[in-house]
């Protein structure tokens, strides 16, 4: 497989996904700065194509957890929390393009229930940061209509679970109208909101909507997990001409990280290499990334070398990055928060089996939440979510 880093001129890192480029390159023409940095760090790790991986390596690998990528990119930068990163991305895009607007419940002067839109109403006015009555189907529909006439709305679902009420508009109108109108009308909306299992939020507020939405043709789905990619994905999603659903996680809003001062976006279709490794590929996204990294620490101490990839792009999957990883390690573990049945992991397992069957030395294993509504009791809730101990056991099992 040819080198992954191509077409990576500095300018392209800042450009939007250019349709012309994609015809010449693969789908993934623009590499985020972060990935290039991680690649160079891992250069001592050597050839991706090499099949000569040593299992149960005796030497301990010093970097158990991914290096803080942002440190190496720029010496300056500023530290902020994930929700502030989202807000910064949103604000920058609203500054850059007067058509970008926000719609949702309590997004205006209240600043949003997770403060992602804090301060925006004061700066941009009520018309651009719109407080709506409580009807998700209506304001999603409204945003779609507005998008068809030239605005670029960012729809906030107070909790992703509430967007189930907007399913009709998202599926039938948002996903389909570009196609059924013969390309006459574009719907450049961004639908975002917090989802996932939180701390005792109850069953209805702990939904993983990525599994329900993944079949809708015409939409893209991405999940952010760090302040860096939150801001980058937010900006890329707003600039995209396609409808994009950006999944945030309730428990990740207070993550702190240093991000670059300059303008950057993250490619919507690209996965993120969190920790290069040789023994096994662990695919994950959103909050589970942190459980995986915690398990990775334990695994490293036990002598394993896991490669951790944050898939980020839930629809479509970045099979390029994932494939390269599978070809290197030959073992795959998927760790997700979705339920077992019909989740992202289920689709990813199918995709990997179909495409990379020859490279697998073991069946693809998928760790997911059970097919139960999330209980309120804290202890039970914890056990519906995949824990680091389970990840360690699964890796040991796979690497036997």
């Amino acid at each position: 497989m040819s080198s992954i880093i191509h077409g990576a001129g500095a300018a392209t890192a800042l450009s939007t996904f250019n349709p012309v480029d994609s015809k010449k390159l693969t789908n993934l023409s623009v590499r985020s700065q972060r990935y290039i940095v991680a690649g160079s760090e891992a250069s001592k790790k050597k050839s991706f194509g090499s099949a000569l991986t040593v299992r149960h390596s005796q030497k301990l690998i010093p970097n158990a957890v991914a290096t803080k990528e942002a440190d190496t990119s720029t010496s300056t930068g500023h530290e902020l929390l994930l929700f502030e990163a989202l807000q910064e991305g949103l604000e920058e895009e609203m500054d850059r393009d007067a058509n970008v607007c926000v719609m949702g419940e309590d997004v205006g002067h209240y600043g949003g229930s997770y403060k992602v839109t804090k301060g925006l109403a004061d700066k941009f006015g009520d018309l651009r940061v719109l407080d709506t009555p409580i009807c998700e189907n209506a304001f999603t529909g409204m945003a779609i209509g507005a998008a068809m006439t030239g605005l670029r709305p960012v729809i906030e679902g107070m909790n992703m679970g509430f967007l189930l009420l907007a399913f009709n508009q998202i599926s039938n109108n948002c996903g389909m109208l570009h196609y059924t109108s013969g390309g006459q009308f574009t719907i450049p909306v961004v639908i975002r909101g917090p989802g996932g299992v939180g701390r005792q939020l109850g069953a209805e507020h702990s939904q993983r909507l990525e599994s329900y939405f993944q079949s809708i043709p015409g939409i893209q789905m991405v999940a952010c997990s760090t302040p860096y990619n939150a801001k980058g994905l937010m900006k890329a999603a707003i600039r995209s001409e396609n409808p994009v659903i950006l999944f945030e996680h309730v428990l990740l809003y207070n993550l702190k990280e240093k991000i670059p001062d300059e303008d950057y976006i993250c490619n919507l279709e690209e996965a993120e290499m969190v920790r290069p490794g040789e023994h096994i590929t662990i695919l994950t996204y959103s909050r589970m990334r942190y459980h995986v990294m915690q398990a990775a620490k334990t695994l490293v101490n036990k002598g394993y070398d896991p490669e951790v990839i944050d898939i980020r792009s839930l629809k479509p999957f970045d099979l390029h990055t994932i494939g390269n990883s599978v070809k290197k390690t030959h073992r795959v573990l998927i760790v997700e928060e979705c339920m077992r049945t019909g989740g992202i992991g289920a689709s990813l397992t199918a995709a990997i089996n179909e495409n990379f069957h020859d490279y697998l030395d073991a069946p693809v294993m998928c760790l997911s939440s059970q097919d139960v509504p999330t209980p309120y009791a804290g202890t039970l809730e914890e056990w519906t979510v995949v824990q680091p101990a389970q990840i360690v056991t699964a890796v040991e099992q796979l690497c036997q």
Binding site: H109, T132, C135, N173, L177, G183
Partner: protein, 468 residues
């Protein structure tokens, strides 16, 4: 003064305000004093609200409901404004004694009703309206027959509702954006969609704007500001509110116009959209074609209110009921409503009473649930075309000769358009996968490759009229 209690006000402010506008425990004179004077400290507190709103069109004042000046009246400030109390237990009746009257200008025979108010139409506009109504009728009949003959897969006629379609379109400007349900091709026709273009969409050939992806009658034209029909009922209503919002933000001299039927008013989206439009003060016209039937469901099984017009008030929306088969009345109502919507930045609800003369679609046989006599009666006695025709003839703007000329010309054009559309090539296979996204992603390109591979292996199973 009606205070709007916002979450931004601190809790202490809230209680202070409550204390000043006391809960009517004082004497009558005290109460009225509170009603009339502005306590300066209260005012100060409110205006010291540090959050100011830019570009705001929020209704600053909500009209107080039932502001009493009686000596014994006590009033309370609930969130939302003052409300008078009453010691009588009185329910608001579920219906008024009389139904809301219906605005009409031409009587059943096409004669102008004396003392009627209407917006004057020029000869040019009136003749174009009538010609387009005739064209629509002929187009419907020919397409319907074509479906019955097996040349078209599906069709839905607009018979009986031509006046709503054409007259409303005539009253709008080309910049007004239309969000149709599926029984409004007349609006497109008025704006210049050709018979050939209609036929192309119905046959799904490569000249179709929609690239052959949707079923017949699901027209769409970006150029003519007519948004592609989405088959789901009433989902276009919130879309229209959003478009209206967008137009308002851009300060355009245009409004959004959306159509739906009596059945569509039962959908949640209808209620949400009306509520939203009122709150957002969006310049949108909600035109309901109350044609009596939602497939086989009569309006008595659809809702129990006095039609649609009374629902507007529930959401704070100005409404009017119009005779949908009276082209002049429709024109005037839509024209006036449009002015109001744009200048006053408000939504308007127009209920157009009419009758669905045709079947719901070619998949329906309406004689199974309604009498053929009823259909016949509406088709003959209440025909919108004949009423307008009488009026324009009485003005000397039309004649029998022009009628027959028009009809034969349109029929010929229509049959030709059908013939050409039928013969035109279908869009090629690539269009099955394009436009799902702006650029086809890897998985779709892969799937297209797989389909083409399958076709290569089994060429005899692939339809001969779809080019590769």
């Amino acid at each position: 003064m009606a205070l709007r209690l916002r979450s931004s006000l601190s809790k202490s402010n809230f209680f202070n305000i409550l204390r000043y506008n006391n809960l009517g425990f004082g004497t009558a004179s005290q109460t009225t004093r509170h009603l009339r004077t502005h306590d300066p400290t209260t005012l100060l507190r409110v205006s010291q609200n540090p959050i100011t709103r830019f570009c705001n069109t929020m209704a600053e004042k909500l009209s107080s409901v039932g502001e009493h000046e009686d000596a014994n009246a006590q009033v309370m400030d609930f969130p939302g404004g003052k409300v008078a109390f009453t010691p009588e237990i009185k329910f608001i009746s579920e219906s008024s004694k009389e139904r809301v009257p219906c605005y009409r200008v031409l009587d059943d025979n096409g004669q102008l009703i004396t003392n009627s108010h209407f917006v004057q139409v020029s000869e040019e506009v009136a003749v174009k309206m009538y010609s387009d109504m005739v064209t629509l009728q002929i187009m419907d009949n020919i397409f319907y027959e074509a479906q019955r003959q097996g040349r078209l897969s599906f069709y839905a006629t607009t018979i009986g509702e031509e006046a709503i379609n054409i007259a409303s379109a005539a009253a709008l400007s080309p910049q007004d954006v239309i969000f149709p349900q599926y029984r409004e091709p007349g609006v497109l026709l008025w704006r210049g969609f050709t018979l050939q273009e209609f036929a192309n969409q119905c046959f799904g050939n490569k000249s179709d704007n929609g690239k052959g992806r949707q079923m017949p009658v699901h027209y769409g034209s970006n150029k003519l500001n007519y948004f592609t029909v989405s088959a789901t009922i009433a989902t276009q209503l919130p879309n229209a509110v959003g478009a209206a919002y967008s137009l308002k933000m851009d300060k355009k001299d245009a409004c959004a116009v959306t159509y739906f039927g009596d059945g569509g008013s039962s959908e949640g989206d209808f209620h949400a959209a009306l509520n939203f439009a009122a709150v957002m003060e969006a310049p949108v016209l909600f035109i309901c074609r109350n044609n009596g039937w939602a497939i086989s469901t009569p309006t008595s099984d659809q809702f129990r209110s006095d039609g649609l017009v009374v629902k507007g008030r529930a959401y704070g929306i100005r409404s009017i009921r119009v005779d949908g088969n009276d082209a002049l009345a429709m024109y005037s109502a839509v024209h006036t409503a449009r002015e109001m919507a744009i200048t006053e930045e408000r939504p308007i609800l127009i209920e157009a009473l009419t009758y669905r003369v045709g079947h719901h679609s070619t998949s329906d046989d309406s004689t199974r649930y309604r009498s053929a006599d009823e259909i016949e009666w509406w088709n003959k006695a209440r025909n919108p075309l004949s009423r307008l025709r009488t009026w324009i003839e009485s003005n000397g703007w039309w004649s029998d000769e022009e009628e027959s000329d028009l009809r034969s010309r349109i029929k010929k054009e229509m049959l030709e358009a059908l013939r050409v559309a039928e013969k035109t090539e279908k869009p090629n296979l690539e269009n099955m996968f394009s436009d799902v996204y702006d650029v086809p992603p890897l998985n779709l390109r892969e799937q297209e490759r797989q389909v083409r591979q399958t076709i290569k292996s089994y060429p005899q199973d692939y339809p001969s009229d779809v080019p590769l």
